[in-house]
Each structure stands twice: as C-alpha cells, then as structure tokens.
C-alpha cells in the first residue's frame, strides 16, 4: 500500500520549562485521512506536544512540519483545535460566538453563516443559535466548542478529550461526526483517556509517558506485538482446572467471562483439550487481543 505524504511531522522535538522537561526528543508522523491517537497518563507531555503543534509554544529544539511547511502563524488557520481547557463566552449568543471563532480562523461573511447553520443543524443545536452560552447545558456547550474546532474546514483537527461531559447519545453523535471528518479526508489527532473509545476510533496510536514516546504505530500492529496468548472463556464444571502454573500464567474474572493468560509457549489448543477432557461445558472460547486499556497500563508500569 502506497503511503501518502504525512500531514504532520515532528522531528526530535524537545520542550523544557526551566528545569522540567515536558517533551523529550519526540518524533512522530501523522498520516492524512487517519485518526491518530495521542495517549498517555496525566502529565506525560501530551498537552505540551499539542500546544507546539498548534503553534502556541515553540519547541526548544527539533522541527514541526505541517502540510509540507515549517510551522508558522499562517498555518494555524489550517488547524482546528479543541483544547482540554475550553470554554465559551458566557454572555455571547451561540451563533455570534461561532462567527467570532470562525473569523479568528479567517473565515467570514456568507460562507461562515452557511457553515454555522449547517453545523448547528448537524449537532442538533439549531434551536439554540440565539441563546446565550450560559443557558446551554454542559453537553451542548461541548458540542458548540467542537464546532469551533471544525467550522473553518481545517486539514488537521486536534481534539483533546472531546467526549468528556457528554451523555452516551452525544458520545455516539460525536464519534460519528469524527468518523465523518475522517471520511472527508481530514487528519485527526485524538487525545483521550477513554481507551475504549480510542480503541474504536484510532487507526494509529502514539503513547507518551514522562516526556518520552513509548509506543508508536498502527493500532493493529501494536495489538499484535502485545499479543499475549490470552483466551476469554465461559464454561461450567472442571473446577480447579486452571490452577496449573505450567499452562496458565494469570486468571482474571470479568463478570461471566474468565480471561486466561497462558504461559509463553503454551498453545490455546492445550487449554481447550484439557477443558473438554475434564468434561467442562464450554460456552465461549475466544482468542483475545489485549485491549488498549491493558496495553496502556502495562506500558505505564514498564516505563515508570
């Protein structure tokens, strides 16, 4: 598969605040039309990285290149950014507010009005256009903030915790909207702590811990490299069968499911055979990939 030119390239980017290094020698590439997950524990350096990408701060060393150009002020209009720290002008009407943010991204006039209306309709906010921001619920405010990040049709959309404060209905709406943006060819950087969502949306993942990159690649490759010979089981009978250190390394109970991590070298077939031989009624036997959640936790432990 031919790889298109990356939308965003970071090379050996380092940023320190006095004696604290927030980001150290970070290199990464974000390819167009993909959702790029930027994950990591609190204080890992994600926000600092994003702020350098949107040109709020400048790296101490290293380069950032967007759409084939070194980062500059003009490029800011090509980026849509939904920061984690976000808000709205409380007394300003939703429509006016969006127009102001559009103007800050150099979008004005009739085109701006048209897009404001279509986005409000898309996110079911049309009725709130002339309401002041303070009259909106938190979820609605979140959606308005999301619109400010995409109103100017940017090439790169950076979303920092876009799902916080949303109810399940709106989480789905937001997910769908993000995928639509991706389908429209936008490059999306998604930073979140909600691993289940990241797992469903991201094509690529980069994990940062303590200022360093600890993981980088497509989600599929990462999962494959973490494949740990795990089996999800549902069975009855055969008590005590799994207590065999020669075969099973770890057992975890997830409700009905039992997740069994086999010792290296052991094959799932051995386990299945043993269960069948012991007369256990197996209703589920599935080879499972580790979840992003598990990978995350393991990586954090490993690099602590």
């Amino acid at each position: 598969m031919e790889q298109s030119k990356p939308t965003l390239i970071l090379e050996h980017v380092t940023k320190s605040f006095r004696d604290f290094t927030a980001v150290s020698d970070l290199s990464l590439q974000v390819r167009p039309g993909r959702v790029f997950g930027l994950i990591g524990p609190n204080g890992a350096g994600k926000t600092t990285t994003i702020r350098m990408i949107v040109n709020i701060t400048v790296p101490d060393s290293g380069t950032i290149e967007l759409l084939g150009q070194r980062m500059n002020t003009a490029l800011q209009d090509r980026i849509g950014y939904l920061p984690e720290e976000r808000g709205l002008y409380k007394k300003m009407k939703v429509g006016e507010q969006l127009r102001f943010f559009a103007e800050l991204k150099d979008l004005r006039g009739a085109e701006a009005s048209k897009r404001i209306d279509s986005w409000l309709a898309k996110l079911q906010l049309t009725a709130w256009k002339d309401k002041r921001a303070k009259e909106l619920s938190k979820g609605m405010q979140q959606k308005v903030q999301f619109i400010t990040a995409v109103i100017h049709d940017p090439d790169l959309v950076i979303l920092d915790e876009p799902f916080s404060g949303l109810d399940p209905v709106n989480v789905d709406l937001m997910k769908q909207t993000i995928l639509e943006q991706k389908a429209a060819g936008k490059t999306i950087i998604l930073s979140t702590h909600q691993m289940e969502i990241a797992e469903k949306l991201c094509d690529d993942v980069c994990m940062i811990n303590r200022a360093h990159k600890v993981l980088d690649g497509t989600l599929r490759d990462i999962k494959r490299s973490f494949s740990r010979n795990a089996v999800a089981l549902q069975f009855e009978g055969g008590d005590g069968l799994l207590n065999d250190p020669a075969l099973v390394a770890n057992i975890r109970q997830n409700g009905e499911d039992t997740e069994v991590l086999l010792v290296p070298g052991a094959s799932p077939q051995q386990l299945l055979k043993r269960l069948v031989d012991a007369g256990a009624a197996v209703s589920r036997f599935e080879l499972v990939e580790p979840s992003l959640h598990d990978i995350f936790i393991e990586k954090v432990r490993e690099t602590a």
């Binding site: 006095r18 702020r51 949107v54 040109n55 709020i56 701060t57 002020t73 800011q76 209009d77 980026i79 950014y81 920061p83 720290e85 976000r86 808000g87 709205l88 002008y89 409380k90 007394k91 300003m92 102001f100 943010f101 103007e103 800050l104 991204k105 150099d106 004005r108 400010t148």
Partner: protein, 445 residues
Amino acid sequence: MKKFFAVVKREYLQRVRTKFFVVATILGPVLMAGFTVVPALMFSIKAGGPTRLAIVDQTGKMYARVNRELMSGQTRRPDSSPEPQLGQGDRKEQISQAGKLIKRTFTVEEVSLGGRSLADVTKDLEGRVLNRELDGYIVLPPNLLTDGQPEFRTRNAADLFTKDALKDAISDAVRGQRLVDAGIDEKAVKKASEPVDLKTIEAGGKESKGEASFFLVFGMGLLIYMSVLLYGQFVLGAVIEEKETRIAEILFSSMRSFPLMIGKLVGVSLVALTQLGIWAAAFLAFSVWGVAWLAGRGFEIPFPHIRPILFLYLLIYFLMGYFIYATVYAVVGSMVTTTQEGGQVAMPIVLMLVAGFYLSFNIISNPSSPLAFWASMFPFFAPITMLVRIVTETPPLWQILLSLGIGIVTIVGLVWLAARIYRVGMLMTGKKASIPEVWRWVRQA
C-alpha cells in the same frame, strides 16, 4: 490584521449592546445635569416666605437706612467674581458665598420704645418671637454709630445666611450714615471704591484667560482619572475574561497574543470613547441651550475662552493618559485571576495620576524648571503636567513631541508586556503569579 479587527469588533459590540451600557450612558448626563442644575434650582426656592423682623432703633435715625439696605439686599447679586477661586477662601467663606445665592426677603417693622423701658419692649418682642409672630428682632443701641453692638435675637441662631445678610445691611447702613455725618458725599465714595479688574496678557500674545484654561486642564485631569477608574475595570475584565472562561487557549491557537491584547484594549477603549463622546455631545447641547435657559432665569455660568490649539492638546493628552493607565490595567489583568484582585493591584499605580496633580501645583509657578521638564516627560505624569505647562508657558514643540513619543512607546511597551505575561501565564494554568515569577515569564516566553 483581520483577526485583530475581529477581536476589536467583539469586545466593542459585546459591551455596547448591554443594557448596562445604555443605562449608564443615559444616566451619565442626567446625573451631570442634576449636579449642576438642581442645586441652583434649590437655592432659588423660597422656603417659608419672608423673614419677619422687628427693629428697635435706639439711635432714632438708623431705621430707615437699615430698612432700605435690607430691601435692596434682596435683589443684590452675589458680588464675588463668577470664576471659581482656586485654593483660596476658607470653608466659612465658601458657605457664605453659597448663602448669597439664596433669595431672601424680609418684612420689617419698627418698634419704638414709646416711653417704655428697653427691657419691657424686648420682653414683649421675645414673646412674639416665641409665639412665631416674628422670626426675630434687632436692637440697635444708641451708640451704634460709634462702637455700639447691635443685637439680633432669633429662634434660629444657626441661620448663618440671615445673620450674614443682616450684618451686611446694618454695616452698610452704618457706613453710609458715618459718611454723611462726616460730611462726605456717599455716592462719590461708592464710585471711588469700585474694584479694579486685572487684565492678564501673555507676553507677545493675545489677551489670555489663563485661569480658565488652567481649570480646563484640571478638569481634563479629573476626566482622565475618572475614565481610568471607570473603564480600567472594563479592560481588566476583558483581559481576565478568557482566563475565567478558559477560552485563552483557543484564541492563542488562532492568533498571536500581541494583536489580541491590542485588539482588546482598542475594543474596550472604543466603548469608553463612545460613551464619553455621547456625553460630550450632551454637554455641548447643554452648553448651547441649557446655559441660555439658566441665564434667562438669572444664573450665569461662565464659559472660558480657550485657544483652539489647546483643544487639540487636550484631546491628545487625554487619549495618551487614558491609554497609559488602561494598559496598566491590561498588564495587571494578565497577572491576576480575578477582577477584584486586579483592582487592588492596579490602584497604587493609578494613584500616580494623583501625584501628577500635586506636581502640577509646583509647575504652575515654575513651568520651565527642570522639575517641570522631567515631570512632563515621565509618561505617567505627562498627561497632566505637560498640559499644565502648555497652558502656563507653552514649552518648545520638541518637548511636547518628545513627551508624546515617550507616552506612545510606554503604551506599546506595556501592551507587549501584558501580552507576554498573559500568554505564559496561560501556559502555566491555574498558577497565581508572583512578581519574580512574572518577570521570569517575561524573559522566557
């Protein structure tokens, strides 16, 4: 640049469209008119009719004169010069000046002893005063024209204004009688004691109304001071707004902090200028019609004649003064997290404006001294001190331009500083800044 205008537009429209702005704009001139017109009207209200007096004339010849003076006193205009006298005249003097504005009328009756003893008559009068048939009575002693002291008995001894009026009337009557007794023509004396009005002419210039211009400068200083206090809070609020609403990061991902800060300052300042402009227009309208109306009712409000160039200077230095102190609020706003906190931090700096006032007292008498020069170069004093110099003894043009240049550089520098502190402060979210920390931010950003 377009983004800068977007910021200006937002700051301006968001404030001008509020009910608060509309109400304040309308109430401003109403209050202003209230403070000038209402006291004048109140003085003109005659409360409770004429003051009823009885005069016991023991000299036997003074009653007619005193009566005449009292009656003529009712229509006598306040004889002080209409222009306010700076720093002169104590409190008491001012009160009696104000008292002269009150219209008073008297009804006077003569009470002759008619063979009775003085004690008898006064006892009788005392009774009438207590019964409210009279408001008071005066006893003119027989030796009034030499060194006798007249007595005024009244229920309301605290009425200074009436007492002053009586004192003046009796004094005038006694003076007149003494002149007649000495065989001097009363009218000739009056004519001889007409006061002289000193006409001040600036060397090489036209007739000067220096005093009027001087008060204008003070008025301007006061206007700067009030505008700074009033709108400085707006600037503070505008700078803090994005911190409180957590919008700053979105803004910084779209534009640099310097145009953002200038945009905010200009937007809010346009609001201030809009309001002041409306008030100025209202004041002008008041000047044209209101003064004529008041003059028609017997109140003359003096209007100073000022060189037109001075208006230009007033405008320029007003803008400079306003912007210098407004940017101080912007710097403070970039450091603090709440408006209240900001107000406290900014106050000592704004008091420098007051220091400028005090310096100008010295500068009036020595407008070309080194102190005057340096005070008018220091940007925080210049809006007042340089104006004082321009009015008193206009300094060379290069000095005026230099002070303006310093002012502009100061304003730009302060905005730059505010923008820098603001941006770095945003990156260190939630932290309250100490001064050394702010200094570090300024250097590192």
